[in-house]
Symmetry: C2
Amino acid sequence: MFESFKEHSVAEFFKKNRQMLGFSGKIRSLTTIVHEYVTNSLDACEEAGILPDIKVEVKEIAESRYKIKVEDNGPGIPKKHLGKALGMMLAGTKFHRYLQQRGQQGIGAAGATMYGVITTGNPVHAISGYKGKIIECDIYVDFKTNNPILSNIKEKDGEFRGLIVEGEFGDVKYEKSNYGAYEYLRRTALVNPHAKIIFIDPSGEESLFPRSSEQIPPRPKEINPHPLGISAQDLLDIAVHETEFRRISSFLQNRFSRVGLNKVSEIKDLIPDIDLNKDPKGLDWDEAQKIVEAFKKVKWIAPSSEGINPIGKELIEKSFENILHPEVIAVSERKTRIYRGGIPFIVEAGIAFGGGIKDANKKGEIMRFANRAPLLFDAGACAITESVKEIDWKRYDLKNFEEEPIVVLVNISSVHIPYVGAGKQSISSEDDVKSEIKFAIMEAARDIQRYISGKRKKHESETKKKVIGRYAHQLSKDLTELAENKDSKNIEKRLNDMIENKYIGWKYDKKYRFKKTKTAWRKYV
Amino acid sequence: MFESFKEHSVAEFFKKNRQMLGFSGKIRSLTTIVHEYVTNSLDACEEAGILPDIKVEVKEIAESRYKIKVEDNGPGIPKKHLGKALGMMLAGTKFHRYLQQRGQQGIGAAGATMYGVITTGNPVHAISGYKGKIIECDIYVDFKTNNPILSNIKEKDGEFRGLIVEGEFGDVKYEKSNYGAYEYLRRTALVNPHAKIIFIDPSGEESLFPRSSEQIPPRPKEINPHPLGISAQDLLDIAVHETEFRRISSFLQNRFSRVGLNKVSEIKDLIPDIDLNKDPKGLDWDEAQKIVEAFKKVKWIAPSSEGINPIGKELIEKSFENILHPEVIAVSERKTRIYRGGIPFIVEAGIAFGGGIKDANKKGEIMRFANRAPLLFDAGACAITESVKEIDWKRYDLKNFEEEPIVVLVNISSVHIPYVGAGKQSISSEDDVKSEIKFAIMEAARDIQRYISGKRKKHESETKKKVIGRYAHQLSKDLTELAENKDSKNIEKRLNDMIENKYIGWKYDKKYRFKKTKTAWRKYV
């Protein structure tokens, strides 16, 4: 039995378990390929401070076999890293940094390349324009070693800057459904208005998602971890690579956020037996554990939102307006919170109700995003879906979520999104994350409720006004006769004014509410 | 930006993304640890042909900190492999073999060890009794390299055979809920009656799940892949390691199931330009692709169920009886099918309805199993849950699934289960797998429906009989008078016989139906 004991590469693992990377089913597999290359392009452009121009082309070349080409105007990839970036799993610039990006694992693009190799035997072709050099090559994956194999390498000087990846993929299918590449790119464009995306589908039809904002989102900023976010093991892992700072005290101040001189001396007081002038490389687990315990006893300022770029209220509202034309929109943006002790994240939730959603006869839809990347699959296992389902919508004057013309949008932004799987399509139900999602949705839902109940009150008020108004004419005549007064017109006018004043209340009421709420609140009727 | 380009180990990846292995939330994390060590124990015992005796002990030693010990009577692990089996990811005897086992990735146990190290800094302690040698050591994980580090190694001769793993784990919690270790072991015992499991919970309470069958399930058998199950890449991967067979023709016959001389000559005719006398190691991708294409054109016998061990009807029925005491049980066992072209699998579904389930006021529960291991988490993303939800239960004379006293059990058996993630808690919605799950449930549901509608008919029949029976006495008297006959008793008896005959129909009807259905069908009323 132990004769067959073997070690395996991570590439072999994901080759056998390709469904874990999102390669299950032909339609999903195609969308996953587009998703991986496009998120890489967006991340590269944003990190380099470039307004992204992305072109995606999908061509059918045989049954279940497509050519997919993704082209960007990003910084390109230097020759040295090109093969590994596109053909090696767990390699890249993202995995170890505390940085908000769409990709965070160093698996995605290599996974797409792998899928091409598995299903067609062909390498993926890449052209990279980086700092005046254009490198062109074929990239293949050696599964046994998880190493990229490059061939047909050509190099020349040239103006082109960016990355073009082109490959053939089998066992895939294009469909213009909710799970297809078109919908994926549409939703990407929706929350990335600074990107221009062109999509050419297999029929040759070109869709342009134009850039609607010239503002590049702030460059993702590498931040230091918050002391509350780390375990003793993390502390050791960081300390062991420390080369710049020779003392634990300066190491703590420079490698963690919110740690200043005062905090160091507070920590010192809590653990007097540990010499903070020691070299951090000499820390052992017990000492690290004691420092982490001390971290927990100190009062910290919450992690800053530095390095975290949510979509923002305005943009969510604008997106809703553009695609849904709803009757009312409410958006809530929560403060920075932490999960797993200290990883910062921000949740935004938007709710659109009625109007265009009703006209389109759509019901209870959830749009999920993480770091501005749309999540189309695995909805059932996602903390966002779970949160929406667990909310008691009747409390917000709504029937079942599934039966109302309502769209809930949730975006989570973080330097590390807790995805359920390597396929990055659903958010794990970490307690802190889930409760924050719920609060965000409920906050927006309260505003929708105010609108709905306000509307109902207005309706009731107007009905009463109309009913009572019907008596004004006759009553003014009768009063004129009774009072032997001739001026029935005047009496009727004054009666009408009284009714008007009595039932005008809702408007002020609404205005007051409008001010009271912290969230954006618009009405398009 | 590319200065920070790095490569990472799979251990680092899962350390940062521990939720992907099932380590999210304290309760789930504890259950995951028990699950990983226990499935390893069961697999080891079964492969060695040993009736499993497993003892699990969970002790609280501080807040959120527990000691967990799992002991088995399996074959033990030789010294050479002990560290890697428990402390290295993607290493083991299972990943590359075509074999039905609970574990299949070579990640689980190492993941549990990793979690102990991350959360306490302590290594896991292991004692292995293998072939007369007892090895004892501490196992630690080097995350940067994904290598186990062994310390305090002691070796002696001794009688003990088996494996004891004991570790301290932080950030965990024991709870006797549906997601706790107790429920996990209860469900494990339920479908593994050949195992004896003892569980000692943190309060010291001992639960014994006794062995109820002395029959060891057939040893998992390593099978050859079916030609329809492999891609060109797979074919190349297998060929490149071929040492025994020097010709493609004999390689195909010996490394794939269902390939005989006739099939080889059929394949030869389809691809005359490929020399099947060549060394398989010399195959290139195009040739492999042509062989795979030829595979698809040949008519194959379906993959055999060899190597696949479902739970079996009887055992599912017995389990239902023991724990649920339902009014009626229906079990369907489907034939061997293939997914992804050729990976064989078998689906079983059982439905229990009414009786004890009703009394306990339980409603619409789903019990999921894969290769006899219970799946407690991530229900939302599972093909089994999706299937149950997509079935139109009204067609089976049932209201909403959620509102009926009904329990659906589904078990999938395969040499490779398509799990959604490395945490192995839900089945990916591969088309072929999902439709098979649905068919299995629907088959069982039809029998439940027959029972329900039969019961309703019987009820109607009995009501009619009772109503009409009320007139028999009076009518027999009146008839006796009219006919001037004295024997009213005889008339009454004959009338009653007539009524009895008329309304007895349902019983035969039921019998007939009983025969007609292929599935087991029992009635406990």
